[in-house]
């Protein structure tokens, strides 16, 4: 960064004096509580799948994640998740539900530009990197495992 001049420094201190302090601790507590609440719902969904369908603790993860994303998409459509996001910040973005919110909010935002170029083209603007990362990581790991099995390192 370039060196600040004296007037810039004095302006900076003036800004700091008048700027409202960020309530970091309160934000953290809000994020913790809301994030924890989303996880409680997720756990309830997992237990539901274990109890009423033939999923074990190990295999119930995938349908639970899908259901939670579906819930988040639904709530985003009704405008509830946006408010939750404003209140809780990272608490609502970090759990997997943030993924559903990112997809649908982008789709709603670009709806006026048409369904193909607007919704279709921009839907994965935010969440696309997550999908690409997942697919690429899975491909890479599967390649490594296939090679290791082929050369007899693991069986």
């Amino acid at each position: 960064m370039a060196k600040q001049t004296a007037s810039e420094k004095s302006y900076q201190s003036l800004v700091e004096a008048h700027d409202r302090k960020r309530p970091v601790l309160i934000n953290c507590i809000k994020a913790f509580l809301v994030g924890g609440f989303i996880c409680i719902v997720g756990q309830a969904v997992t237990v539901f799948f274990i109890t009423f369908f033939s999923f074990t603790e190990q295999t119930a993860g995938n349908p639970s994640v899908a259901t939670m994303i579906f819930f988040a998409m639904f709530l985003t459509g009704f405008g509830v998740y946006d408010r939750l996001g404003q209140f809780a910040g990272a608490g609502s973005a970090v759990p997997v539900t943030g993924f559903g919110n990112a997809v649908i909010s982008a789709a709603i935002e670009h709806k006026t530009e048409g369904f193909v170029l607007g919704v279709g083209g921009n839907m994965f603007k935010l969440a696309g990197s997550v999908i690409i990362f997942g697919v690429f990581a899975a491909f890479l790991l599967a390649t490594i495992k296939t090679l290791l099995i082929y050369f007899g390192v693991v069986n």
Partner: protein, 141 residues
């Protein structure tokens, strides 16, 4: 809104308690040939401090052991499973013993145990149900 904030976590908390309810220890012997082995396994599991609820089911050629782990020991779940598996392999080298700490396997085992106790299952049906549970246990995806 405030009512919901209080009610929902309470509902979840009480619902969660149902998962930790102790129902065993139970033994189910479909084929009499394994009776002694089941008793030995049960005695061993009763002694271990990490577990608190066990169901052992002996079928024609397989024995299924399912148990619940005390909450603070859930971090060592894999190690506990490995320990029990190793012990059963050493104790009964010629017997196939499936060990599982999965809640679903426990639940299904308990359902099988209950309907067996009620007498609503024939040997073939119970054996078929046991095979289904073992198949479910080995599923990964």
């Amino acid at each position: 809104m405030k009512k919901w904030i209080c009610t929902f976590p309470l509902m979840m908390l009480l619902g969660g308690c149902a998962m930790f309810e102790q129902v065993g220890p139970s033994e189910l012997i479909i084929h009499d040939t394994h009776e002694e082995k089941v008793h030995i396994i049960n005695e061993k599991l009763q002694k271990s401090e990490e577990l608190y609820d066990t169901i052992i089911i002996a079928g024609e050629d397989k024995i299924l052991v399912s148990y619940k782990v005390h909450h603070m020991n859930r971090f060592h779940m894999k190690a506990i499973e490995k320990k029990i598996k190793k012990w059963t392999e050493e104790e009964f080298p010629n017997q196939e013993v499936d060990v599982s700490s999965d809640y679903k396997i426990f639940l299904e085992s308990y359902n099988l145990f209950q309907s067996w106790e009620e007498g609503s299952l024939s040997i073939e049906e119970a054996q078929k149900k046991l095979d289904e549970i073992i198949k479910l246990k080995n599923e990964l995806t």
